[in-house]
Amino acid sequence: MSLAIDVRGLRFRYGNGPWVLDIPELTLKRGTRAFLFGPSGSGKTTLLGVLAGVLKPEEGEVNVLGRDLASLSGAQRDAFRAEHIGYVFQMFNLIPYLSVLDNIALPARMNAARRARLDGTGVKETAALLADHLHIGDLLTKRVTELSVGQQQRVAACRALIGAPEIIVADEPTSSLDFDRREAFLELLFAECELAGATLVFVSHDRTLESMFSRTISLPDISRTAL
């Protein structure tokens, strides 16, 4: 059970199209900070979708925290994702009609297990605490449309982290930030992941960040289909 992710013989394609992913093996230990890179169109986001249980592989096993997502039903995968996975998008991460606080609190409100892991602290208090850690504590009541891109990405990170999911999946969350802010953002994200003991899968095509991670995975190297 020390493996967070254990993928075997994964093959995925959209409809009857060509294989997008063909990964014989991919394993990640718990607590790893993994840097997954590959050129655009190489299936990075698709792989994240599979790992998050949004997409269902046609063949193979996708063991996440010891559960084979490939054998779960759609609703079971949705519940699994809600409980165990925090997701950060490249950009436009936030629900426009919710406040910063409501955006951060959303996963905890949607999933009882995430709520239970707050250890008796209220959803709001936890959200505020996380926001403080990421230096956006004074933005809680703002409309998300009033935030800068960097602030939005930190709100998204808070949302991914609330309720301490075991795995944080981040899809190029820094690509819209300038270099200094990228590093600052990553440091904050790392600190929080460490605090929660979470495994981080971080996708980027920008290899300048690679050195900050404990493990680097090249998607073209592990997937036989990737360009």
Partner: protein, 421 residues
Amino acid sequence: MLSLDLALKSLRNRAFSTSLTVGSIALSVALLIGVENVRVGMRESFSNTISQTDLIVGAKGGTIQLLLYSVFGMGSPTNNLSWDTYREWAEHPAIEWTIPYGLGDSHRGFRVIGTNEDFYRRYRYRGGQEIALAEGRGGSEVFDVTLGADVAAELGYGLGDQVAVTHGIGEVGFLNHDEMPFTVVGILDKTFTPVDRAVYVTLEGIEAIHFGWEDGAPPMPGEEQTRDDVLAMGEIEITQVTSFFVGATNRRDVLRLQREINDYEGEPMMAVIPGLALNEMWQGIGYAETGLRLVTIFVVLVGLLGMLVSLYTSLNERRREMAILRAVGAGPKRIVALLVLESVCLSAAGAIAGLALVYALLSAGQPIVEAQVGLFIPIRPPGSIELLFLAAVVTAGFLMGFVPALKAYRTALHDGLAVRV
């Protein structure tokens, strides 16, 4: 409940399109309920035009025709009944009271009705309300005239004014009974029934103006009689009535009495039960009613379709939102629930706003409609019909919500997390 909270916040975020949608549903619902109220008001004011009268009796002819000329002041009577026949029935033991009507003349388009004091005592309308005088008294002398409220208001007459009666019931009669003007002695309170649009004189008055007109044509020159001539005559003999209203001593006898009158051999005559005849008439008008209701139901459907279009077109902009919701763990079911809830909220808000609008318009418009059209629309708390309409609108909204919801469901499944905006 999280989905409801999300739905409401999402709707509030799109406040402009939300209020437009709610507004259009509200207007259509207001129209639906408003039409229903007007319909009920019309039906009630129609069937309450006359009340507590058990039978209306006149010369043999059509039942609706008898009702029209006796109660609504429309159409022409075919024949009169003799005074003796009338008296014979008026003294019938099963008949408690009668109101005789002598019709056939008019004043500037308003019907002139010859009657007697029984009219003021016995005539009832809308749930047993009595005829009341706004000013003066009910006519009792030969040349007394009492005006319905509309007549006095429209022609600007007051007590003491002189009124000439026209032979026949056209707007512009050329055969005027000018030589015998009547004097206004009373003006009736408004009743919102055809009573308001009639002019009441005595049966003696009707007889007097027709002296010399026995063959239907004006008297030969030199033979006209004047008001003074008539007054000098003393007692005037009444020869005929057009119809009369009957109150039975015992309501159980009404059917028997009706049969007896219809079978009367002295003169061809008939009796109708006003409630039945009014119903029969209303059924004729009822087709228009159904059509009207059908139109308003379509208006509501159009309002709901507007909502459908607005939700559906918003989905493309919201693909990102759906992807985020999926990423934080919302299953397709929650996304369907979210959109269906939005649709239900919109239609429920529209329905309630529509209901409020109806009551606002009704309370503002009731006196105006009453004054202008003579239609009294009762304002009562929403009844089962209104609640049924509201439930139907919300149910329709619920069902329609599945169209955008299933589209969003499919899109969300297909997009996964990969929407690029």
